[in-house]
C-alpha cells in the first residue's frame, strides 16, 4: 500500500485510504518506540529539514524525535535565527536549503496555503506542520489515532470540538479527517469564534457546552489562541471560562464518561480546569506519545514515495 500523494499538505488533499494507511502504519511505529531500542534504520539515507517560520515546541520536538527514530539526518531552522528578517522570500529560503541536498521539508508557516504554494515550485516532499489558520494535518492524524485507541472505529461516533474554531488549523484538519472517517462532528464555542460557513464542511454548530458534552463521545478542547486574535472576539477570559470552560463539575453532571482531548499547550483554568486535564478521562498525554508514532508513519510513507 502506498499514499496517493507525495506531500502531506493538508487532510483536505488526502483520501480516507491514505488516512487509514497512516494510522495503521503508526500502530507499528508505536510498538517500535516502546521497545528498549527505539530506533529503526528506515530513513538513514534521507535528510529532513525542519523549517519553523512560526514558534513551536511540541510539534518541532515531536517531528525531530520521529525523524531521529527513523535514523534520518535532520537540520533545523527557525524564523528567529534566520534570514527571513533580512527580507528573504520563502521560496529563496527553501531553495537555498534544498541546494544542500535535502530530501524532505517539514514546515510550519503563518500563511495559509504556504505549503501548497511551495509544492508548485520545489521537488522535495513537503509535510505541513501547520500553516496559519488553514491546516495542521499531523495533529488531526494523531488526534484520530488517539480517538481510535480510546473509543474504537470512528464511523458514527460523535466528536465535539470546543473553543476557538475561527483561528484554529487544528479544528479545520480535525473536521476534514473525522468527516472522512465517518464520524459526526459538532463545533461548540461563542458565535464570534465560529466561522459563519462552517456547516458547509458537514459539521453541526452548538453554543451550549453542556448539551454538546452530553451529545459527544469525545470532546476535543482547543486552546484559546489570544495571540491570533487581532480584535476582541470575547470580552474577557473570565467570562469565557464561565460560559465555555470545561470543569469537573460539568463532566460529573453528565450521564456518561466521555474522553477529553486537548492539542496543547493548555491554558489551565481557561478552557479546561486542572482536575479535568489530569483526570482519568483525559488522554492528553497519550496524544503526545501518539504524535511521534503518527509522524514516523507520515515520514516513512512519504519517503517511500520518493524512491519509486
Amino acid at each position: 500500500m502506498q499514499l496517493s500523494t507525495k506531500h502531506l499538505l493538508g487532510i483536505k488533499y488526502i483520501t480516507r485510504e491514505d488516512i487509514q494507511l497512516i494510522l495503521d502504519t503508526a500502530t507499528q511505529f508505536k510498538e517500535v518506540i516502546n521497545r528498549p531500542i527505539k530506533k529503526v534504520p528506515s530513513l538513514r539515507d534521507v535528510t529532513v529539514a525542519n523549517l519553523f517560520f512560526e514558534n513551536s515546541t511540541r510539534t518541532r520536538i515531536s517531528f525531530e524525535l520521529a525523524e531521529k527514530r527513523l535514523s534520518a539526518d535532520t537540520v533545523n531552522f527557525s524564523a528567529s535565527s534566520s534570514s527571513v528578517k533580512k527580507g528573504e522570500t520563502l521560496l529563496d529560503t527553501v531553495n537555498n536549503i534544498l541546494s544542500m541536498k535535502v530530501d524532505m521539508v517539514v514546515m510550519r508557516h503563518p500563511a495559509p496555503g504556504a505549503h501548497v504554494f511551495l509544492s508548485h515550485h520545489i521537488d522535495a516532499n513537503i509535510i505541513n506542520a501547520g500553516d496559519g489558520t488553514h491546516e495542521h494535518p499531523t495533529q488531526a492524524l494523531l488526534d484520530a489515532y488517539s480517538m481510535r485507541e480510546a473509543v474504537g472505529d470512528l464511523e458514527g461516533k460523535n466528536i465535539a470540538i470546543f473553543g476557538d474554531i475561527l483561528h484554529s488549523r487544528v479544528a479545520l484538519s480535525n473536521i476534514f479527517c473525522l468527516r472522512k472517517l465517518g464520524a459526526n462532528v459538532r463545533v461548540c464555542g461563542p458565535p464570534t469564534l465560529i466561522p459563519r460557513h462552517i456547516e458547509s464542511l458537514g459539521v453541526s454548530v452548538s453554543y451550549d457546552v453542556k448539551k454538546t458534552l452530553q451529545w459527544c463521545d469525545v470532546a476535543n478542547v482547543l486552546r484559546i489562541q489570544l495571540e491570533r486574535q487581532d480584535v476582541k472576539y470575547f470580552p474577557s477570559l473570565r467570562e469565557y471560562t464561565q460560559h465555555f470552560g470545561i470543569n469537573k463539575h460539568l463532566l460529573d453532571s453528565l450521564k456518561k464518561d466521555i474522553v477529553i482531548m486537548h492539542p496543547g499547550p493548555i491554558n489551565r483554568g481557561v478552557e479546561l480546569t486542572s482536575d479535568v486535564a489530569d483526570s482519568k478521562q483525559s488522554i492528553i498525554l497519550q496524544q503526545v506519545e501518539n504524535g511521534v508514532a503518527v509522524r514516523m508513519a507520515v515520514l516513512y510513507l512519504l519517503a517511500e514515495q520518493r524512491q519509486v
Binding site: 500563511a111 495559509p112 496555503g113 489558520t133 459563519r196 460557513h197
Partner: protein, 421 residues
C-alpha cells in the same frame, strides 16, 4: 491615409450603425464613409470579420506613474490601453504622490498631449487618499480632473463622503467609490464563504460591500448628487443599484471581468493571479452581475487594470498583492465570457459609450468629418495570449497561455494609429 475595407460599424450614435462599409482615414479624421471607396494612394486594410467602433474608455486604470514606475508608467500604460482598444483611460489617484492637487493632475494631462490615448486624471477626494481631509477639488477639476475618488481606498468616513458629494454639485461632478466596509472585512483576503472556510482564510463578506453601498445610496439621496459605484461584485449590490435607479437617483455602476468570470472556487489552489479586489465571489453573484449588465443596472465594464511585479505576486497568498493587468485582454475576456449575455453592440456601449457618458465627456461618433477615435476589432477571432501581446510592464494575468475569443486589430486617436496585426 488608411482605407479600412468592408468594416461593420458598431456605434449607436452613428448613421452608419450596423452597416458594412469602407472608411477612409486621413490626418486623424474620418474623411469618407461609403459602400465602396477606391483610393490608390491610401494604405488599404482588408481584414477578415472586422468591426469598427468608437475607441473604448476605461475608468479606474492604475497607471503606477508617478511612484511605481517599475510596475507601470504612463508610456507602458497607454501602449497597453491602445493594444486593448482603449483610446481613453481615467486613472485612479493611487500613485505616489497621490493625485490630490492641481500639480499631479497637470503631470498626467501634460503627458496626454502627445499620446494616442487620452488620459483623464481622477482626483483624490481626500489628501493622500487617507479618508480624512477633503482635497482642493475645484482646483483639480479646472486643471482637468474628470471625477473624484480615493481609488482602491473605499471612502469610509460618512461625513467626508457626504461633503464630497455636496461639494462637486456646482460643476455636476461625479464621486466614484468602490464600496467596502473596512470593519466587517477586516483582515480578509478572499470572499467569505464555504471556500474561505475550507481554506482557513479570513473572509470578506458580501455584506461589507453592501453595507457601504447602502450608506452611499442614502447619502446620494440626501445630497441629490452623482455617484459612480466602481467594481460591483455582489448580487445584492446589483439589486440595491437597480432599486436606486428606479427611485431616480443619479447612480451609475461598473463591473470588471474578473468578477464575472471566476468565482471563489477558483482559489482552492491559492493562485495569487486570482487574488483581486473586490474578491472573486460566488456563482450566484456572477449570475446577478450578468443580469445587471444586460438590463442596464450596470452601465459600464472597466478593466480594473492593476499592475503588480513578480515580487508582489510570487508569494504566499496572504502576502501577495491583489490585482491583475487587464487593458490588453478586456475585449477578449468580455467576448469569451459574455458572448451569451451581451450582443456586440451592447458590449461596445459598455466599453466605449457609457464610460464617457457617465463622466460627461465628448462622445466620439463614427461619421464623415469627425475625428477618428476608433477601435477596429474582430469579435470572433480565437487567439492565445502570450508575452508579445502584453505592453504593460507587469505580467500579472491569469490568462497567459489561455485561449481567448475576440481581438483588437487597431486603435486610432489623436492622429495616431496602433496596429495589432
Amino acid at each position: 491615409m488608411i482605407l479600412l475595407k468592408q468594416v461593420k460599424i458598431i456605434d449607436p450614435n452613428s448613421p452608419h450603425n450596423g452597416k458594412v462599409v469602407d472608411v477612409l482615414i486621413q490626418r486623424g479624421k474620418i474623411v469618407k464613409i461609403s459602400k465602396r471607396i477606391t483610393n490608390k494612394k491610401a494604405e488599404s486594410w482588408k481584414l477578415d470579420n472586422a468591426y469598427l467602433s468608437p475607441g473604448f474608455m476605461d475608468i479606474g486604470t492604475q497607471v503606477g506613474d508617478p511612484g511605481f514606475e517599475h510596475k507601470e508608467d504612463l508610456s507602458s500604460a497607454t501602449a497597453a490601453a491602445a493594444a486593448g482598444g482603449f483610446t481613453a483611460i481615467a486613472c485612479t489617484p493611487n500613485t505616489h504622490p497621490v493625485v490630490d492637487a492641481k500639480a499631479e493632475v497637470l503631470y498626467i494631462r501634460n503627458y496626454a498631449q502627445d499620446s494616442l490615448v487620452d488620459l483623464y486624471p481622477i482626483g483624490a477626494v481626500s489628501k493622500d487618499c487617507k479618508g480624512k481631509e477633503i482635497t482642493e477639488i475645484y482646483d483639480m477639476q479646472k486643471a482637468g480632473a474628470v471625477a473624484f475618488s480615493d481609488g482602491h481606498h473605499s471612502i469610509d468616513n460618512s461625513g467626508l463622503m457626504m461633503r464630497s458629494l455636496l461639494y462637486v454639485k456646482p460643476f455636476n461632478g461625479v464621486i466614484i467609490n468602490q464600496p467596502l466596509d473596512p470593519d466587517t472585512s477586516h483582515g480578509g483576503e478572499m470572499h467569505e464563504g464555504a471556500v474561505s472556510t475550507s481554506l482557513g482564510m479570513k473572509g470578506i463578506p458580501a455584506l461589507a460591500e453592501e453595507l457601504m453601498l447602502q450608506r452611499d445610496l442614502y447619502l446620494l439621496e440626501y445630497t441629490n448628487s452623482r455617484l459612480h459605484v466602481a467594481n460591483v461584485s455582489c448580487s445584492n449590490s446589483v439589486h440595491l443599484i437597480r432599486q436606486a435607479k428606479k427611485n431616480g437617483l443619479q447612480v451609475t455602476a461598473s463591473v470588471n471581468p474578473m468578477n464575472f468570470i471566476f468565482d471563489d472556487t477558483a482559489l482552492t489552489g491559492f493562485d495569487t493571479h486570482l487574488k483581486v479586489m473586490p474578491p472573486l465571489r460566488e456563482k450566484e453573484d456572477i449570475k446577478a452581475l450578468k443580469k445587471g449588465l444586460k438590463d442596464g443596472t450596470i452601465d459600464s465594464i472597466c478593466s480594473n487594470h492593476t499592475p503588480e511585479d513578480e515580487e508582489g505576486k510570487k508569494l504566499e497568498f496572504v502576502y501577495a498583492k491583489p490585482g491583475v493587468i487587464a487593458l490588453e485582454t478586456t475585449l477578449a475576456t468580455c467576448r469569451t465570457y459574455l458572448e451569451k449575455t451581451l450582443t456586440i453592440e451592447e458590449l461596445v456601449i459598455k466599453l466605449a459609450i457609457a464610460p464617457r457618458q457617465l463622466l460627461g465627456l465628448d462622445m466620439p461618433v463614427i461619421a464623415e468629418g469627425n475625428e477618428a477615435n476608433l477601435c477596429l476589432f474582430n469579435p470572433d477571432k480565437e487567439w492565445i495570449l502570450c508575452e508579445k501581446d502584453l505592453h504593460s510592464k507587469s505580467r500579472n494575468t491569469p490568462f497567459m497561455g489561455k485561449q481567448l475569443k475576440g481581438k483588437v486589430l487597431a486603435t486610432f486617436n489623436n492622429g495616431k494609429a496602433s496596429k495589432q496585426f
